[in-house]
């Protein structure tokens, strides 16, 4: 199972109720994935700076972790707005920061410290438990923006914790995030190949390879549309997958149409979800919904 949702506002000038819509959609899919819930929301870009969200750890004294991160950030320029909430620290950093250096400085603190999201407009918040609990802890529905994706997880093969939850940020590639429902059956083969080229995997969740794959393709110059089309050739198994960048939202459905995904598009918005119940629950009004076809790829761009 697992539930995935995506919403793309065509108007609202970057001030659409993205958080509220995505959480509303996720709540309707809570029963598809009771293990964890997460969102990747795209707000208005903050004058070229990066917003960074760091998981402070799985347990222990998270406050002292936060202090140690602050001291490590002293060597970087333009760090501001440092705050902590729940298991996360969040701060802004100048747009010309060396991202590799930054993540190394933070993640070398301990093995359960992880940069969970980084981008001009991307904010990922995820944790174990229901969408209701995610909202209770982080008030994600308050966030306004342009588009977003979300996930409720029913774990089948890997651990249930914050890092194994979705959405996944494509580590090293700003603003690219994915959610995935399904299984990538050639995951181990792909992982071995990527690891031989020095790519770090943070989890044992097969969905992580989708984020890495798309980031690699886009880095090579592919558009999101082309990256999805290549994914149909290179990634085996069953998948309905959503990805978002600073300006785009898109989906791909696998070559056997094994996983559900429905979509609707009006002149005001695009909504995509595992089940129509999520779209109807969050978005009142008249519109028609249809199932995505086998091998279908769609990308919306602003």
């Amino acid at each position: 199972m697992c539930g995935i949702v995506g919403f793309f506002a065509k108007d609202g000038g970057g001030q659409a109720e993205i958080g509220q819509t995505i959480v509303g959609m996720l709540r309707a899919l809570g029963c598809r994935g009771p293990d964890s819930a997460g969102v990747a929301l795209y707000g208005a870009p903050d004058d070229g700076r990066f917003a960074v969200r760091v998981k402070l750890g799985d347990a222990g004294d998270l406050e002292s972790r936060a202090h140690r991160i602050i001291s490590r950030l002293e060597s970087f320029s333009g760090v501001s707005h440092f705050s902590t909430i729940g298991a996360y620290a969040r701060f802004l950093v100048s747009g010309d920061t060396d991202l590799k250096q930054l993540t190394n400085a933070i993640e070398s603190l301990d093995k359960d410290v992880e940069v969970v999201s980084l981008g001009h407009s991307l904010e990922i918040v995820k944790q174990t438990g229901s969408p209701d609990n995610l909202e209770k802890t982080y008030c994600v529905s308050r966030m306004k923006g342009t588009h977003g994706i979300g996930h409720t997880r029913l774990s089948t093969e890997s651990r249930v914790d914050l890092s194994h939850s979705q959405p996944f940020w494509s580590h090293g590639y700003p603003d690219l995030a994915i959610v995935h429902n399904g299984h990538i059956t050639n995951y181990h083969q792909l992982r071995r190949r990527y690891e031989q080229h020095g790519v770090r995997f943070y989890t044992e969740n097969d969905s992580e390879v989708v984020a890495i794959y798309l980031a690699q393709q886009i880095s090579k110059g592919a558009s999101l549309q082309e990256a999805f089309e290549r994914m149909l050739r290179d990634l085996d198994g069953s998948y309905s997958c959503l990805a978002a960048t600073e300006r785009e939202l898109g989906f791909v459905k696998d070559t056997f149409a094994l996983k559900p995904l429905v979509m609707t598009e009006t002149d005001k918005f695009v909504a995509v979800a595992t089940e129509e119940i999520a779209i109807r629950a969050a978005l009142p009004g008249q519109y028609s919904v249809r199932e995505a076809q086998v091998r279908e790829v769609r990308v919306w761009r602003r």
Binding site: F256, E275, R280, E291, V294
Partner: protein, 232 residues
Amino acid sequence: MAEIVCGNRATREINADIKQAIAAGDRDIVVKDPGARHNLGVAVLAPVRIRFTGSVGYYCAGLSDGPHIEIDESAGWGLAESMMNGEIVVRGSAGNGAAAAIRGGTVVIHGDAAARLGVSMKGGTVLVAGNCGYMAGFMGQKGAIVVCGDVGDAFADSMYETVCFVGGRVAGLGTDAIVETPSKEDAAWLDATLAQHLPQARKRGQDFQKIVAGRKLWNFDKREWKVWQEAL
């Protein structure tokens, strides 16, 4: 006429209300705001009319025997699955596996159907005004599939005696599917069936291709190993 409002109630309560209305002698039931809930109107075994005034989720009208069920918007996976008899009409589109394994009755889809339409049908008829997706008709044993628009890849794969009619383009035939010339009886049946259920869907002068099983997979023959290799 009975009116049932879904509101925030559980599917079990809504279905119980439907059964109760039938038991009380209602023959015309309207279910409001279904909100794409799953499992609505399953196992209705009486010749009643039920109308859902919105979208329904998975398995709507499954295991039906006799009702006329109308859905104003779209339907999720497994619409009318394993229906014995009845008529199920969807004004919008249908998700994967619509009319799968039906044994009788008619499923009418005014929009498009997604993947695996009418797989393993054992009787009955499914009609689609729009297009249908991947792998429709797979392992169909009896009954008929009519698609006025285009059909997806692997169409009519590994069938027994289901008969398919396609008004648009076929993206690709499945294993052992062959195109056959329709007989006069076929044409008459198609005219009558479309006139009854989807009078607007047929374009003027539109011809339909007939697709059936080539029967190569019905019995194993070592000399046809190549066909089997492809099928498996």
